[in-house]
């Protein structure tokens, strides 16, 4: 199967949107104890750029959860492979996601973090693909809404490739 890439969002469009998100979040979280929770690995690029657009103090932390199909045991169950280093009880948590599509991993993450009693728990996603949703999850801050395409670049990979692209592109199957 051959693929080609079709540009969806340019570097400039992405950065402009992140600046807008940063401004909104800075206003909404003014005076609060904000913890940015970056979901490894794809969200790193977005989390870094977003945090640079914040004009308020915040704590940056990382969390990683296992993904289906990467376990040696195919009947395994999702688990946290790298937990947060900070305690979030009583703090305002903002989960930073590169993309929300099926909602499966985010649903798990929300359930897990809720048990730690944060003061607030919201989601910021650069990309939202509601057409692919399987379980309903809230997206409080959304960068772009994408149609049902497979997106790569700016942290999003296909078999570990394309993460480093500065823009976001659709991976399109080429007709033979």
């Amino acid at each position: 199967m051959k693929y080609r890439l079709e540009r969806l969002l340019s570097q400039e469009e992405i950065q402009a949107e992140i600046a807008r998100l940063g401004k909104t979040i800075s206003t909404d979280y003014a005076g609060k104890e904000l913890v940015l929770v970056c979901v490894l690995r794809g969200s790193v690029y977005f989390a870094v750029d977003l945090s640079r657009q914040l004009s308020i103090p915040f704590t940056l932390d990382f969390i990683s959860i296992s993904s289906y199909g990467q376990e040696s045991d195919p009947l395994g169950i999702v688990r946290i492979t790298k937990d947060l280093d900070v305690h979030i009880a009583g703090k305002d948590v903002l989960i930073v996601e590169d993309i929300v599509d099926t909602g499966l991993s985010l649903n798990y993450l929300l359930r897990n973090l809720k048990t730690r009693h944060p003061a607030g728990l919201r989601v910021c996603a650069l990309l939202n693909v509601p057409a692919r949703r399987i379980v309903a999850v809230p997206v409080d801050y959304q960068g772009f809404q994408l149609p049902n395409v497979y997106a790569v670049g700016y942290g999003l990979d296909y078999h570990e490739r394309y993460r480093n692209l500065l823009e976001i592109a659709a991976l399109v199957e080429e007709q033979q």
């Binding site: 199967m1 890439l5 289906y68 379980v135 309903a136």
Partner: protein
């Protein structure tokens, strides 16, 4: 669950028999009153709840008939899904004609006998009793004809036909109970261990029809999302006799999300049938949340998890 339907001529003692059978078997007696309040609770407009009593204009008849039968069928199917019932009248012999565990009884008696009983019970003179019996007979016939477009005098509809004048009402009850016990025994024998269908348990290995369904269940298990496999069938079309001619059984139900999910790995061109069923489902059951996961969505899901079989070669970077 089991359904015993009791159809009867007016005044032949069908009510008495239905009540006695319900008492003896412990099944829920479902009569006109219970159904009317059940349909009203479902939000059916009052004039449709009383479809059997009203005389709609001809041009509205077909639309109303279909609506009423659909609602009635859905209500009774739901009811019978959870418990065994004895259904008195309402065209149960049509509604549950193809139900694998339904037993159909018809109760009749000659006119003179029915008139005699009716005049005794209602304290009426013979002339008035004849009139009442005739009126009720007409109403029943009209209801069945209107709702199901079929005559009720069809031997093939019934498993047991009893003449209460010859057997006495008490004798008819005893025979009905005996016949039903034989019917149940026969069913038990048919369901020998080899033929008992496996009941899929949520989260356990289940007899999935497609590899994609097995995989999807594993994904849900992995993310700790409770699911049920094909727990409900939605009737979508009925013929004039009330038989289900088209139905839709979505693959999964996610109780926490309250959503039905249908997986299809067919090519996009071939999914129009499923799309059509989905539209019809939303028309008839607007309260039900359902979505189709198309082949394209599914392959995105696999891609995301790195499970697609395709290897990445010869890509041209041109964003």
């Amino acid at each position: 669950m089991t359904v015993i339907t009791v159809s009867r001529q007016f005044g032949a003692g069908g009510e008495l028999l239905a009540r006695a059978v319900a008492e003896e078997t412990g099944f829920l007696l479902v009569d006109r009153k219970l159904i009317a309040s059940g349909l009203a609770e479902l939000g059916l407009p009052p004039q449709l709840v009383r479809f059997d009593e009203t005389a709609p204009k001809a041009e509205q008849l077909e639309k109303k008939r279909r609506f009423y039968v659909t609602a009635l069928h859905e209500y009774l199917t739901d009811l019978a899904a959870n418990r065994s019932i004895v259904l008195l009248g309402r065209g149960g012999q049509f509604l549950f004609r193809d139900h694998p565990d339904a037993f159909h009884i018809f109760i009749h008696a000659p006119l003179t006998q029915r008139v005699e009983w009716v005049s005794q019970i209602y304290g009426l003179e013979e002339k008035s009793a004849v009139r009442l019996v005739r009126e009720q007979e007409q109403r029943k016939k009209r209801y069945i004809r209107r709702a199901f477009g079929h005559s009720w005098v069809d031997l093939a509809l019934y498993d047991l036909i009893l003449n209460t004048a010859r057997l006495t009402p008490q004798g008819a009850i005893e025979i009905a109970l005996f016949a039903f016990s034989r019917f149940s025994e026969r069913k038990r024998q048919q369901l020998s261990p080899a033929t008992v269908p496996e009941i899929p348990e949520a989260g356990k290995a289940s007899p999935f029809k497609h590899q994609s369904e097995t995989e999807f269940a594993r994904v849900l298990d992995f993310y700790n999302i409770p699911w049920q496999y094909e727990p409900r069938t939605f009737p979508l079309q009925w013929d004039s006799e009330g038989h289900v001619t088209e139905a839709f059984t979505p693959d999964f139900y996610l109780p926490d999300q309250n959503i039905y999910v249908e997986l299809t790995t067919q090519r996009q061109k071939l999914v129009w049938r499923k799309n059509k069923k989905m539209r019809r489902l939303k028309e008839l059951y607007p309260e039900v949340n359902a979505k189709i996961i198309y082949g394209k969505d599914y392959s995105s899901l696999l891609k995301k998890f790195g499970l697609d079989k395709n290897e990445l070669k010869n890509d041209r970077r041109q964003p």
